[in-house]
Symmetry: C2
Subunit: 209 residues, 2 copies
DNA sequence: GATTGAGTCATACGTTCGTTTCATTCAAAC
DNA sequence: GTTTGAATGAAACGAACGTATGACTCAATC
């Protein structure tokens, strides 16, 4: 295979290192060294370290967002009121598809997503575009129809729960791998466990006030 | 009130800044400046920045662990088989009690716990002692009795879910505060939402295999 | 063959970092 | 009054950081 251009190699190296050590724990020098590129290449291709981080985040999030969007389209084409379980699967499924437990790239991706969501450095989080908000708002509306009587605040809380469970699960799988996990079967099992767990949580009646 | 000694003031300042900017995003100079102490005081009282972080983490986690432990003791003193909902409350409750959304110290604490759990810096991660593992194992056993038929792997998955939901919820509250959140009422609401959400998720039958 | 411009390179700049050193302070012990 | 030792203070260390600069390479264009 032809070696990719410098820009791509920097993106790959940055994705690897940002995922493992976070934004502040990764130096431009380490990135360019791993990429086999010159130190100044980051400035030339991306402008700054922060903009490189944004590019890395976009490249990872975009396919997940697209899959979530397409999944919702498919559901809504069939019925205007999809059941909770199918909404959960359409939303959480792509998070598993894009970070399979059985290949190394998936491990990096899951770790990187946690970084993007929780890194204390603002540079790691200030990258989201309108596309991401749009998808979340669409799911929010669909869940609101499927769960009448749930206050908007509690619904928001539950949607955060979906992200939390999927992201943190994938994180721990690779931080302290247990025997047998990492196989394709284990990845598929985790996916179904998550759907079970989250469908039950989302479907439960509103908290009595 | 008498001004606390330098050591305590450094701990307070470090807790504040580590919570807000993470381990790598906080400099010893910023800590000592906020504490009104000399730069060398950190080295003198704690040895290094990493050991200061460990001291901060211990001070925050210990009361939570103790409360989780005591809560389980109380339940088990009443019945050898507590219901899932009460186990969930005993486990997740202290996480909310120790980080109330309505006071500033609680806000700091919640952010700090997320830092401890997820900061990419190695110095912030590998600090948990055997006491923390012990409590988790005890809850694991109690949940296993309350949820017969659930495989150990799926139970582990669900326990991770509890931590994920509580931690990430408290994180986002302070990352993008929405109007009205931060009030005592909102903090109490989040606590009850979490119990509802997690009890339903934990109680659901095992995934069909 | 001269020109151009994107890309790469070595290098340096100014800053900030964690840590160390050594002098100084000051209340308690002798 | 002298000694002692914990605590603090001012200053400096070397290393690593993100970024900027200017020269060089080299295929494409004229």
């Amino acid at each position: 295979m032809a070696t990719p251009d410098t820009r791509t190699q920097i993106l790959d190296a940055a994705e690897h290192l940002f995922a493992e050590h976070g934004y502040r724990g990764t130096s431009v020098r380490a990135i360019t060294k791993l990429a086999g590129a010159n130190l100044a290449a980051v400035g030339y291709h991306f402008g700054s370290k922060a903009e490189l981080m944004a590019a890395v985040a976009r490249r990872v999030i975009e396919p997940i967002n697209a899959a979530q969007c397409a999944g919702l389209d498919t559901l809504l084409a069939r019925t205007p009121d999809p059941p909770v379980s199918e909404l959960v699967e359409a939303f959480a499924g792509p998070l598993f598809d894009e970070m399979p437990a059985d290949d190394e790239g998936g491990a990096r991706t899951s770790r990187l997503i946690v970084t993007i969501l929780s890194d204390p450095a603002e540079e790691a989080r200030n990258w989201t575009g309108p596309a991401e908000d749009s998808v979340r708002e669409r799911y929010l509306a669909a869940f609101a129809r499927a769960l009448p009587g749930l206050s908007p605040q509690e619904l928001r809380f539950r949607m955060r729960g979906i992200l939390a469970v999927t992201a943190v699960d994938r994180l721990e799988v690779h931080q302290q791998p247990s025997p047998g996990c990492g196989s394709p079967a284990a990845g598929e099992a985790a996916r179904r466990w998550a759907i079970t767990f989250l469908t039950a949580a989302m479907s439960t009646p509103p908290t009595r006030t």
